[in-house]
Symmetry: C2
Subunit: 204 residues, 2 copies
DNA sequence: TTTCGACTGTTCAAGTAAAACAGTCGAAAA
DNA sequence: TTTTCGACTGTTTTACTTGAACAGTCGAAA
């Protein structure tokens, strides 16, 4: 209780060490002993802060997700066209998911299938993303910039298109991290899809 | 030489037997002996018609692809709105790929990764599909129905969106065939995406 | 409150042996 | 000449075993 701040700091140090390792080697290839070594602790001490390896991993993902959320909320506050905001959102999202891919979480052959524990984390975040997209579209409607036929469906469909494009590209990678070239291709595809989507909901 | 017709007939019988087996159990779980048994032949006889198991599988896929191509070309000839043709194309394409998924070819955990032999087959067919979509869009342009900003990019982006949506849904299935409910969901998503795309390229 | 050495039960990876398989060949039937 | 197939071979897959590595526990100590 005395050193609540210090405790939080150590927790963060562990999360950061874990993120670096996970990002490089993936969940299964990292041991708790290695992470403990990085923060100069005994392995058992890690279990004082995180009851399981899964929990530590979840904390890493959660941190990353929150950072994306914050960066998008920042975009929302800017005085820009809604269409411009949508484009910036897509860009931010790509950067973020590149990290997640390196975290070995989104790869096709990843833990996703077996460890459904992590599924919930991503499903929850999908709701957060959906909300952010809806806000951008609603703003566009208010400004008479957008006029979608099906406002409710628009956000969901758009999110699924983005998810799909990423998924499709990941199929080609052999479970390893995305190389620069593939990332560029994906970037262009997402931009093109965003353009078509914006054209589709624009007020005419 | 005398019985060329009979020979073709037997070849087809083999392909049909193979398709049934592959569709049910997937490429790796089917043996040449089983297929031979279905057409009441010895295993060695199969090798008279198809030099390898891969070749037989390719023949099955090729037949399916050709059937889709024909059915889409039929749509193209009808006197309908280009937008309607695009919607029908998406529908036909879904039916077709459901068969391919059952063939165990498109599943995430499929032979796709290891056997790059099959990759070419699908890459080639992507070109065929691209061509068909381009034809529909061009027709729409001629009729002043469509007016896309980037005509060349439109077809490719649209195809990739469709591929992506399918890929995204397949991620949830455990490598098994798509159940009816999931298929319905995918169908609705594709329809929604098609609507947005059509709106995006419509002449305003 | 926080740390950790020493421990446990489980999971995973490397190795192995046997079975199943794709593909061959030469002889025989049509 | 065209088509069939039994008997064969070398390779791949699978089922099983074993030792090591691992996640997670606990009680003592700082």
């Amino acid at each position: 209780m005395i050193s609540e701040k210090l405790s939080k700091e150590k927790e963060n140090a562990i999360i950061n060490a874990a993120r670096k390792r996970f990002a490089h080697y993936g969940f299964s290839k990292v041991t708790m002993e290695e992470i403990a070594g990085d923060v100069e602790m005994g392995k058992a001490s890690l279990y004082y802060y995180f009851p399981t390896k899964d929990d530590l991993f979840r904390a890493v993902i959660f941190q990353e997700q929150n950072e994306l959320k914050k960066s998008i909320e920042l975009i929302l506050e800017k005085p820009k066209y809604a269409s411009e905001k949508l484009r910036e959102y897509v860009e931010q999202r790509m950067k973020f998911f590149r990290i997640l891919i390196n975290l070995g979480t989104l790869s096709v052959h990843s833990y996703f299938d077996t460890k459904s524990v992590f599924k919930k984390l991503f499903l929850d975040f999908e709701m957060v993303e959906l909300d952010l997209i809806k806000k951008i579209i609603d703003e566009g409607k208010l400004k008479n910039e957008f006029n979608p036929d099906l406002p409710d469906n628009a956000a969901l469909t758009f999110l699924h298109i983005l998810q799909g494009l990423r998924c499709r590209v990941l199929r080609w990678t052999k479970g390893q991290s995305l190389d620069d070239e593939t990332h560029k291709i994906l970037q262009n595809e997402m931009k093109a899809a965003t353009d078509f989507f914006i054209h589709g909901i624009e007020n005419k």
